[in-house]
Subunit: 146 residues, 2 copies
DNA sequence: GCTAAATACATTGTATGCAATTTAATTGTG
DNA sequence: CACAATTAAATTGCATACAATGTATTTAGC
């Protein structure tokens, strides 16, 4: 392939990843709007529904987000009443995020979201597994490079 | 799988797509910075290197971006001198974007970017093709739903 | 040819996302 | 213990994204 051909959109792997990400997030919008959540807030809630409580640093590592994104995001979610933020007594540098009762109750309203979204993605189980595996391979390699 | 298990991050397909998209774009940063381009500006340039000239509407369809994103983006790129914007004489509603000489010259500085990025992605040819195919299948299905 | 509907952009407001820097707290070392 | 280096968040500044709305232009239907 010629070098200039590599610069075409149709020969790029990143572009469909980028486009797919945004299109899926757009498709989430009607469901998440009912829960008063954005997509980023939704994935924070997923962690908290699983863990109840987590430090900002570890949350950032799980979600690949830094404090510049998380700090204002978590403050907004605290204002909505879904979580609480508190400095650790052991290490005052760390902030611990924990699920509130209102946040816990929200999980029940969210249980149908994955099923609704699963239909929109149009992949069967083996395709989904293949896609999942390839994406995590890319993610893992990008981390190593750092 | 239990409904609440589907709400876990590790059972989500969207999350690795979203994370991968952002991590790859981050990896582009050092290369694109040298060209004075952001990732979004880079994919606009890729279209223009291929087409020289395109309407905003078609550009938005290619990139899955709307005028709310494109209008300010294209104005910034015009200010940098990489492209020109002009109302169509035939249909005053339409804006035509065209590559300038400076924009054309930029392509030569960008030829190495895809190769540099290819290394970072860590997939062989067949894996890349599989990932590509799966992503476009998802994208196509999401468009049908609309 | 008049006007309602459609179209193409532009604008507004809100929410990320991230690089770069700053601040406060803790740790490692001599 | 003093203090330089490290670490965890917070802050700042800039650049998207996108829903919702507004505006100018064109098209369709009569």
């Amino acid at each position: 392939m010629r070098d200039t051909d590599r610069l075409k959109l149709e020969n790029q792997l990143c572009f469909p990843i980028y486009a797919c990400s945004r299109e899926i997030i757009k498709a989430y919008h009607p469901y998440l709007q009912k829960l008063n959540l954005t997509y980023t807030q939704y994935i924070v809630m997923m962690v908290l529904w699983d863990r109840s409580s987590i430090g900002v640093k570890e949350l950032g590592e799980l979600l690949y987000l830094d404090s510049g994104t998380l700090t204002p995001l978590l403050k907004k979610m605290e204002a909505k009443g879904y979580l609480q933020r508190a400095r650790s007594a052991v290490d005052e540098r760390c902030v611990l995020v924990s699920l509130t009762e209102a946040g816990r109750l929200l999980q029940q309203e969210a249980v149908d979201v994955p099923k609704c979204m699963g239909c929109k993605v149009a992949l069967n189980e083996s395709e989904a597994a293949a896609l999942y595996g390839l994406l995590y391979k890319v993610l893992a390699h990008l981390q190593e490079e750092k």
